[in-house]
Structure formats: C-alpha cells, structure tokens
C-alpha cells in the first residue's frame, strides 16, 4: 500500500482554484450566484477545520459524555435544518413529530449498527460513533426534508380529493394514503438511487476518503456496504415514522380535515 500524501498548505490553497474558476464562469455568464458559492466554500472550510480539531480532541480523550453531547448537537441541528428548509409553514405538532421521528429513527439504527453490526467497544468510541452518527443523521435529515415538502404540498393541493374520500366514508388513513405513499417514495428514492449507482457511477465519499487515507479498498468497501445499509435502515425508519404520524396532524379528533 502506498504511503498517504499529506496535503501541504499550498496544495490546499490550489484546490480553491475550482472555486475561483466557478465564480469566474458564473460572473461571465451573468448568473448571480457568486455570493452563494463564496459563502458555501468559506462555511465548508471553517466548519471542517473546526470539526477536525474537535474530532482530534475527542479521539484523544474518549468520553461518553462528549460523544452523547455531539449526538445531541447533531440531532438539534438536523431538526432545526429540516424545519428551516421546509417551504411552507408547518404546525407545532408536525415539528414535534419531525423531532420524534429523527431521534427515534436515527438513534435506534445507530445503536444497532454500532453495537451489533460493527460491535464497537466501548459503545461510545468516538472514532466510530461520531462519523456513523453523522452519516445516518445527515441522510435521514435529507429524507425527511424531501418527505415533508411532498406531504404538506400534497395535503394542500389535493385537499379536495382527501375531503372527497372522507365524504365517501374513508378513514383519514385511507383518505391520505396516496399522499403519504408519495411522500415516502420521494423521501427514500435518493437513497435507493445512490445505492443503485454506487461503485459504478460514483465512488461514495466515505469510501473514497478511506481509500485516499491509505486503507485497503476491500476494507473500505466492507464499511461502505455496512454503512449504506445502515443509512437505508435509518432513512426508511425515520421517514416511515414521520409520514405515518405526520399525516394525522392534518385531521382533528372528529376526522375532519384541518386545512
């Protein structure tokens, strides 16, 4: 195995040429996105540098308290991000369901993955706990974000069909079924699609990172397969919880549509 090339400062700076080229192209083409590109690049850099230092500190002094603290911060950030990214106003009850689904869905899959699949010891080993938690939470966050927009949009745009079904004697579950199924599909399809293209169309980020850092591709692939299945489980469980509880917030106790 070749030794890892440690990137020098000038090499890191050279990578920013991509940003400069992109900004130049958007400027020449009159696409008003330079500001967003610059902010995203700066944010990414600062966030990753800070994360790097925090991870070094945590890895050197593993502590269950810090590991849990990081998990809590990730969960809070993801729930906040989902709510912020939702295009329409959502009810406080739906916000609670987002938080509940994220926490129950991701934590149960995370614990199963770490304790049963990888079998880490101690259970809070930050080297495994934190990156895996990040991947499960990040992907579940994207799933719920897609699902919530489709659910809210569907309930509003197809209100007359839902009410039409209620008039014919449907339960709220039956009346909202098409919309709930559609929201579920749209939430998990990106994960399914990425699994289908994986290894052929692209090499996933985690695996690429491991290979670049000198780990055998076979080991990297083993981890990637396990993590991908963990992500699938977490996204699916989180989204199922969300859509199955979420649609109920559009009805009251008299099975009347609230919107």
């Amino acid at each position: 195995m070749n030794s890892v090339i440690d990137l020098q400062l000038w090499q890191m700076i050279a990578a920013y040429v991509f940003v400069l080229v992109l900004m130049l192209i958007t400027k020449l083409k009159g696409i008003p996105r330079e500001k967003e590109i610059l902010i995203a690049s700066v944010r990414m850099t600062i966030q990753l540098i800070l994360t790097g230092y925090i991870l070094v500190y945590l890895f050197n002094a593993p502590s269950p308290l810090y590991t849990i603290l990081i998990l809590v911060i990730m969960e809070i950030f993801s729930v906040y991000n989902i709510i912020k990214r939702t295009k329409t106003a959502i009810s406080p009850k739906l916000k609670q369901i987002i938080a509940f689904s994220m926490i129950v869905g991701t934590v149960s899959c995370l614990l199963y993955f770490l304790l049963v699949v990888i079998h880490i010891s101690p259970w809070y080993d930050p080297q495994y706990f934190i990156p895996v938690a990040g991947m499960l939470i990040g992907n579940s966050m994207t799933g719920i974000s897609l699902g919530i927009n489709r659910l809210v949009d569907g309930m509003q745009k197809q209100k007359y069909l839902v009410e039409g079904a209620l008039m014919l004697g449907a339960t709220p579950r039956m009346a909202a079924k098409e919309i709930v199924d559609d929201a579920f599909d749209s939430a998990i399809l990106p994960t399914i699609n990425s699994m289908v293209g994986m290894g052929i169309v692209f090499l996933p980020g985690m695996m690429t990172g491991q290979i670049l850092s000198g780990i055998s591709p076979i080991t990297a692939i083993e981890y990637q397969i396990a993590v991908m299945l963990g992500i699938l489980g977490s996204v699916t469980l989180t989204v199922i919880l969300f859509v199955q509880l979420g649609y109920k917030t559009f009805f009251n106790e008299h099975q009347q549509l609230k919107i």
Binding site: M167, G169, H254
Partner: protein, 214 residues
C-alpha cells in the same frame, strides 16, 4: 332524523331550530352564499358548529364516530370529486373507502344506466365532461347504498331534460328503498315538484319551512 338547535357556524349559519324528517325527500333552497352547502357539511360532520347541537337519530353528532356517520349519511359535493383512473376505478373506490364488498361489472353498468351515463367502465374518467363527472360521482354515491343521501346540487351541470330524468330517478329510488334524501338545489321548481319538504335559507337563517311539521 336530523335535529338542529341554536346552531351557529361563523357568520355563515345561524339556525335556531330545525328538524329534517327521515324517509322523505327534503330540498334546501336559497340564494348562492346563503349557507346551504355549509349546512350539508355540518350534517355530515365534515365541519363542526361553533355552538349549538346537531343530532342524528336523537344522538348528538359529537358522540357519533364521524367515519361511521359518513358511511350512513353519504355526501355528494357540488363540485364532483373524480379520482385519477377509469370510470370503474371511480365507482369502486367508494366501496373501498366505505369498506363494503365490491360488486361485479354488471352491477356497475346497471348503476351507470340509472344515472343515464352511457360510458364504458374502462374509459378514463378524466376525459368526461362536467355533467358526466357529476353523474359518475352520483352513481358512486348510489352504489354505496347509504341510509341518507346528502346531495349538493346533484344536477347543476346538467341540461334541463337530463336534470329532470336524474331528479325523478333519485326521488323514485329514495321512495322505493325507503331512504332519506336531502338535496340542495338552485331550482325552486325542482324543489316544488319533487320534494316532501322544502327548507328555504337566506343569509344563514331558515326563513321558510314547508312540508311535514316534525
């Protein structure tokens, strides 16, 4: 059957006292925006009144399971609700929602004949005209065989002749099967010619009641 006492809904309806008898044809008439459709939605518990009480067979609606109620009292909205799919899909979806046994195609064709809709079962329902959609939605409600029909202008998109045929069929069917028909209509002539009772609503209030005193 239905009994309303001091029922208020926003500033749309204000009904002091109203009784609607069972096994009769009752028409609700009034200007547009007078609260007729709101009254139907209240009776079916699609919305709840702000104050007062509505009872069905001496039981307050608030104590009846809404889904069970809506399977007993089926509403047809003024704008027909057509689900994506064929004519057959649209007929059967009502039975599926109400968790009733499905019927064969011969029965479906018979129902289509009842509402004078000469369409094939496998035709795309999206391609039907407004009047055809209205009759398809009506056929679906008849297929459900409920105790009470709540129909909101079931013939508004039909020409005069078809309207007469449909209303006559509905009235005859209601009488033959001993059911209750409550129908909102814009036509005072239809109300006068076919109903046992007429409730006239103006600006959310019952201004006239003709027929059986219950």
């Amino acid at each position: 059957m239905f009994s309303l006492n001091n029922v208020r809904f926003k500033n749309i309806l204000d009904i002091k006292h109203l009784k609607v008898p069972s096994n009769k044809v009752t028409c609700i008439v009034g200007e547009s925006g007078s609260g007729k459709s709101t009254l139907l939605r209240l009776l079916n518990n699609l919305i709840s009144c702000d104050s007062g009480e509505i009872s069905f067979n001496d039981r307050p609606l608030s104590t009846i399971n809404s889904v069970e109620l809506r399977r007993t009292i089926v509403t047809l909205s003024q704008q027909p609700v057509i689900f994506p799919g064929t004519v057959k899909d649209n007929l059967l979806i009502g039975l599926k929602f109400a968790e009733k046994p499905l019927v064969d195609e011969e029965k479906l064709r018979q129902i289509l004949r009842m509402v004078s809709l000469s369409k094939e079962l496998y035709e795309d329902s999206d391609k039907l005209s407004g009047g055809e959609k209205q009759r398809l939605a009506l056929a679906r409600v008849i297929l459900l065989d409920p105790e009470v029909f709540l129909l909101d202008e079931p013939s508004s998109a039909l020409d005069e002749e078809t309207e007469r045929i449909i209303v006559e069929m509905l009235v005859a069917y209601t009488k033959d099967t001993n059911k209750t028909l409550i129908m909102v209509t814009h036509s005072k002539k239809v109300a006068k010619d076919y109903s046992d009772n007429i409730i006239e609503i103006n600006q959310g209030k019952v201004v006239n009641y003709t027929g059986d005193q219950v």
